[in-house]
């Protein structure tokens, strides 16, 4: 949490000014290295901000001479086989490192292995790959699910019925958040999940799904979500004329905006959390550290970004319309993430 607050104030102050304490030797070591980002999908606000964060960080680093080039590639159809081909193309283009936001944690392993065999450094983040030769910057999605139920338990000591909005079926993120929520419900046994629906991390899908399910549900006290689905859920409850439950949100601007409006109206309070798209900049700096020859553990964890009633105003001000709450990471952040993984 202190880590989050620190990152937050950094973001609020002015984010991407990379006031690094001079050029260290480690940075010069990577001056002739070329890095590519292989991204599987660009069709939602989170990914758009992620690409923007990467490009801003990469441009700054290239101008500062930290790195020779850092280019972003996105596949057009969000398919694992297409991304595998893309990674193989990037190997052929002679990049020194490939940073991956993967369409599948396992289906790219063949291509990742080809890259490692060719001497290319592979770093995956957000959508990680399981190939042992790659680095992983992962989010503890299970904890994210569990903490949602923890929060609801602190607000509703008597428990009640929960509605679970799930993500895209067949993806590992969906499985992990779901598993975390299940464990949370086991811990706080006053709660029970009385319905679940796939929202595919999209407001309109969630709205349609919830609207279809609502008539068959008892009174709902809380809604656990996966991000990108909270606003649609709220709309469905509103349209059905039901009492608004506590909906845990996922940092999208429309969700935060709605929260602010509700709070102004009747003092509605909730919690919002998600992984900051700026994690792409963290992946960039971690990759730079690996290329510079630093000893970096293969598994790193990023903290997620939480928005509470206290921080809502300031975050919402920082977040453009249709976007996601963000924070951009610096080299120092990358080093502290690496150090904390070393100690753990």
């Amino acid at each position: 949490m202190t880590q989050n607050n620190k990152l937050f104030s950094a973001a609020v102050i002015g984010a991407i000014s990379l006031t690094l304490s001079g050029m260290t030797q480690a940075q010069e070591a990577t001056a002739d290295k070329r890095v590519a980002l292989s991204n599987n999908y660009a069709g939602n606000s989170w990914r758009q901000v992620m690409l923007q964060s990467f490009e801003e960080t990469a441009e700054q680093a290239t101008n500062d001479g930290v790195i020779d080039a850092a280019d972003a590639y996105t596949t057009s159809e969000n398919q694992a086989t297409e991304q595998a081909a893309q990674i193989q193309n990037l190997i052929l283009q002679g990049y020194d490192a490939i940073i991956i936001d993967a369409a599948s944690p396992t289906a790219l392993n063949g291509a990742v292995q080809e890259a490692c065999d060719a001497g290319v450094t592979v770093v995956s983040f957000d959508g990680i790959v399981t190939a042992p030769c790659a680095w992983r910057i992962a989010v503890d999605f299970e904890a994210m699910g569990h903490q949602q139920v923890d929060y609801l338990a602190s607000r509703l000591p008597d428990g009640g019925n929960l509605l679970e909005i799930r993500g895209l079926a067949g993806t590992s993120v969906d499985e992990q958040i779901h598993a975390g929520i299940q464990r949370g419900v086991e811990t706080h046994d006053a709660f029970r999940i009385s319905g679940s629906v796939h929202g595919d991390w999209a407001q309109e899908v969630a709205q349609k799904g919830v609207a279809g399910l609502l008539p068959s549900l008892p009174e709902i006290a809380g809604v656990v979500t996966q991000g990108g689905d909270g606003y649609g859920t709220a709309q469905a409850f509103d349209a059905a004329g039901r009492d608004m439950p506590i909906i845990v949100l996922g940092n999208r601007q429309d969700e935060l905006q709605w929260w602010q409006e509700q709070h102004a109206k009747d003092g509605y309070e909730t919690l919002s959390m998600s992984i900051a798209p700026g994690v792409a900049s963290l992946a960039f700096w971690v990759t730079q550290q690996i290329l510079a020859g630093e000893e970096v553990p293969k598994d790193l964890t990023v903290p997620f970004l939480k928005v509470t009633q206290d921080t809502l105003e300031s975050v919402l001000e920082e977040t453009p319309r249709g976007s996601v709450a963000n924070t951009v990471y610096t080299l120092d952040d990358a080093q502290s993430v690496i150090a904390s993984a070393d100690n753990g």
Binding site: T75, S76, Q79, E82, L92, P105, A107, A131, G170, S172
Partner: protein, 310 residues
């Protein structure tokens, strides 16, 4: 009659050669054993799926479920085939059989294949999700070994492409049963009057398609080392494009197995080429479509001239 219209296969070969030459020019690193393999190894499962699609198109049908079917086969290969090979092989056989049954049903009940295969795609997808609710599984070691073998002289991807083209060319163009199967697409009534059972022939065509679909799934798992339920969904459209690009036509049993393999390679190469050109992803689908249309337009130009003269 021009050279191109007499030999249907020449245009696909010319397109591939041209694209390959430009790719070599843009990215010289691809001009090596290692480079060619990286460029084409993921085209091997696409080529197998394209052959499957070609077998269906050959009998005047179209298969909108092949992508989901290949995904399911991949999931089976990464789970059952690895853990208990016997059960895995039996499931694969059952999958092929169900494809044959689907073909028989489409013919016997006079159902539109486009609807049945689309409907079945959800069944395949559901079964795949049931097997692998989240991505995972492991490729059987022997499968991985086959797909990463390094034969002398030519990389695995090209050897496999030649092998697939050779075997299917023999099956469709040389073997007797292949001629009858093409006849089903050309003139089904004539084949029926000659004493063949159309239901059985359709079941055979679909069964063969199922076999190549299963092979595509296995080849894919050998390359990726594991599977997920959505892994090959885009193969549906790629395979149709590959068949047409390779000189096939939607009606009349006019297909070319070697052409279909070349079509699949061309599609894979087109995507790589666009990536080497650093084209923005927003434009890539469009550019890929433009390459497709350019090849088809070239074919129409040559064939059309021929048709007018006849």
């Amino acid at each position: 009659m021009t050279l191109f219209s007499r030999y249907r296969i020449l245009l696909p070969i010319a397109s591939l050669a041209l694209l390959l030459a430009v790719t070599f020019y843009v990215q010289p690193r691809t001009m090596s054993y290692f480079g060619l393999n990286l460029l084409f190894n993921l085209a091997v499962p696409i080529a197998l799926a394209t052959i499957a699609q070609m077998l269906i198109i050959m009998v005047n049908d179209i298969d909108l479920g092949i992508g989901a079917f290949v995904s399911l086969a991949a999931c089976v290969a990464a789970t059952f085939l690895e853990q208990s090979p016997l059960i895995g092989a039996m499931i694969m056989a059952a999958l092929i059989l169900s494809y044959a049954l689907m073909g028989a049903m489409i013919h016997a009940l006079a159902l539109p294949a486009i609807v049945v295969t689309l409907g079945m795609s959800f069944v395949w997808g559901g079964l795949a999700l049931f097997l692998l609710p989240s991505p995972g599984g492991t490729s059987p070691a022997w499968l991985r070994a086959i797909m990463t073998v390094k034969p002398p002289l030519m990389p695995m991807a090209l050897v496999a492409a030649c092998l697939i083209a050779g075997v299917t060319h023999w099956l469709i163009a040389r073997a007797g049963i292949g001629t009858v199967l093409r006849g089903v697409g050309g003139n089904a009534d004539a084949v029926r009057r000659a004493g063949w059972s159309l239901v059985r022939l359709k079941a055979l065509a679909y069964g063969l398609a199922g076999l190549f679909g299963v092979l595509a799934g296995m080849a894919l798992v050998g390359l990726t080392t594991s599977a997920d339920a959505n892994i090959a969904l885009r193969y549906t459209l790629l395979s149709i494009a590959g068949v047409i690009l390779g000189g096939g036509e939607f009606t009349g049993g006019k297909v070319s197995p070697a052409g279909a393999v070349i079509g699949a390679l061309t599609l894979a190469l087109a995507a790589s080429f666009l990536s080497f050109m650093r084209l923005s992803p927003d434009w890539q689908i469009g550019a890929q479509g433009a390459i497709l249309i350019a090849v088809l337009a070239a074919r129409l130009l040559f064939n059309g001239r021929d048709g007018a003269r006849r």
